[in-house]
Symmetry: D3
Subunit: 165 residues, 6 copies
């Protein structure tokens, strides 16, 4: 089987489809994704001071990230609908360069994995931070958004290697 054949979102005619996973076993699935938004040091300061007393940027972004996991199948055309059983999102300030790092963990018992849900959580969490801070810093950028690890399913465990981009 060539790699091309393995792009299984297409049938033999190359037409997009939602791959049938009906024959797959229901197993516990989990996925962890990460990503970050780089910003001016003054912007990060602003967010951090807000956390202390008022203006909870990270609290709003966390809710947006969690909610986005539940609508992943609406955003990604060929993704399967599935029933998530748990979602955790962590948003942590970091320095050099000034940034917020977002981690998401998503769990489900189903016939297909939750990698897209974890990646969508990270993307929407970071976009929400951008939205709330754009009035003071339009130059923010998002990077290093990727999968860290996934468990469950036929292909089993996968972990990002040290050399991954």
């Amino acid at each position: 089987m060539s790699d091309l054949d393995r792009l299984n979102h297409f049938n033999v005619l190359g037409e997009a489809r939602m791959v049938d996973v009906g024959e797959k076993a229901v197993t516990i699935r989990a996925a962890w994704a990460v990503g970050e938004i780089v910003m001016a040091a003054a912007t990060l300061e602003c967010i951090e001071s807000g956390r202390m007393g008022k203006g909870d940027v990270l609290g709003v972004a966390r809710i947006a990230a969690i909610q986005a996991t539940k609508r992943t199948w609406e955003l990604i055309p060929l993704a399967h609908p599935l029933l998530l059983t748990g979602v955790e999102v962590e948003l942590m300030p970091a320095h050099d360069p000034a940034r917020i790092v977002c981690h998401a963990e998503v769990r489900c018992a189903g016939q297909t994995g939750v990698e897209m849900e974890a990646l969508t959580a990270v993307s929407v969490g970071l976009l929400t931070i951008y939205d709330m801070c754009k009035a003071i810093d339009r130059g923010m950028s998002m990077r290093n958004i990727g999968l860290l690890r996934k468990e469950g399913g036929e292909s089993g465990l996968w972990e990002r290697g040290p050399s991954s981009a």
Copy 2:
């Protein structure tokens, strides 16, 4: 006015709100965003060969990106609803490293900008590529997602400088 005060998604008590833009003039708004997904060379080859005859990964991603702009206000908690008048999304293969670069341009006549819509288009376009290629390459990662330029509104023109991240 301190920077903190300029995080205007919060009121004086630090509580989140949707900022009232009712007094702002309706002007033509436009925003351009960019971002890329880095992948194994073999994955890019697979996508490129698919474009030639069958398996149109980029065509599906483009549709997902355009549709996502119309739902940005559902994903981003404090974003205003607005009526987009035009969206264009471009997805281009590039090399060293192997990647797909996504550009989005969004237009609207309204009281608030369309930066979030352009950034959401790019994020969802890239996520859709990830979804369609993940069976052969889980190590892909997204980077350099940011605003390139925006026009219209009180703050007028903004362009990313050469030193931006």
Copy 3:
């Protein structure tokens, strides 16, 4: 300009886009669509008797049709979001063959027409009738779904001619 060029949902590279309507005037738009679902005579009888006292199939279908107009831009990838100002849906039993005929009228002040909203209302109204009656008649079929008339916009009035399919 060839006909091909007039399929303006694509740019010069043939890539899908949401056409920019930002330069178009805001005018009053209206569209009327029609369609019908053909069924067994016993099914129609069942619906009609239900209308008299209990089991309001047509009332539920009418609500579904109206609601669908508000989400047309989510269903049709390149449709523009717009703010409908009025929707009316009529569902009428007819005979020889036994059927329900659905008419929809949609109004809006905007930069683009409401033909898709009227057609979506008809389609979803008929699908809802199918859903509610399928337990007794899976052989129902939908037909003659099309635009009757549209007003407003640059292209002005259009009416279905007598020879239309």
Copy 4:
């Protein structure tokens, strides 16, 4: 039991409800639906030439059809939410009269059937073709939209007979 009683989307008072399927067995369900959009010969030519090189009308319609299956329960008021395991959509040009024929196949393991999902895929696929071609042909009309076959569940296999409308 009279036919009226079998319109089970209503309780004994004739009030709409979502029928309780909690006691039904989880079985593999599948449904096949079909429908077509009739158009001017020039319009079909335009679509077909587009397929060859640029302007992929059918590719966009296929994605819209697949996505619509995942939101059927939002469109059809009394439909049950369910987790689809697979969707395939085929769009084929045909002649005399000039038209595109849409076939959809939907699969699921659940307590209720997927007929509505298959019919919704066909309807939204055809509506999307209408949207993309309406600038050159407002007289297109949709017809012969119906169920071809369904499997699974208590009522088992059903196939459209030769005499169906």
Copy 5:
């Protein structure tokens, strides 16, 4: 364990999360909720006369209530997605004071309860009545919205006591 610890929508850092229910057994869940909207006697009369022949306020509200149960997880940020198997909504006029009382019953087989779905049905049903009657009575108010009973899950049966608010 203190009560605070039992607000399990937060992790040990007090950050919101979607609690993992993956280890919980799948059991049959049911919940019953109630609520009412108080109005001027003339408004109730208007609704009741409408029921008799035309203007079916309660029929529209019932559909809105049923549909809202299917989207509860989109509205309530930390609610789990789940597949409802049945929903019934009853809307009854009552007097002294003039009001409509709404009862909802929701059923599901899952790892988490359906209390929120039943309460959301009642809230949206009452809001829909408000919408349809507000032109003649803006002073209507909603009250006594609460859970009556729930079954299933680890915590088993719960019933509202006589002294509940």
Copy 6:
């Protein structure tokens, strides 16, 4: 004109419709709504202590309330889509009885009012509090949900009188 005629969500046949507001002037609209959720004193204590350091129940409810305003037209069948320009939501603990009081203010420039958006914000804000505290207090109930004031439009200013329920 009788009161019955003024239930204008129905046509002369008593069939539901989305009333045409296309002839109405675009004016600035605002609406204020209120409501409360009554709970055990221990539950309120739990929420209040959470606000101080961790477990921000009210912060999550505020976001849910704001987001719900943007989807009001999806929930309420005959509500018009409109573009909100501003939303503020306040959630305040109160005692005797122990409760959280929710105030919402919604603004828009449009052809129809925003009463439903303000009431929906309050309802969903209170439901979200219920969701987050239900593990320790299923007996909570919601009450006094109503409109306080609305401005703009043909009917102009309306304020709740002292004798309102």
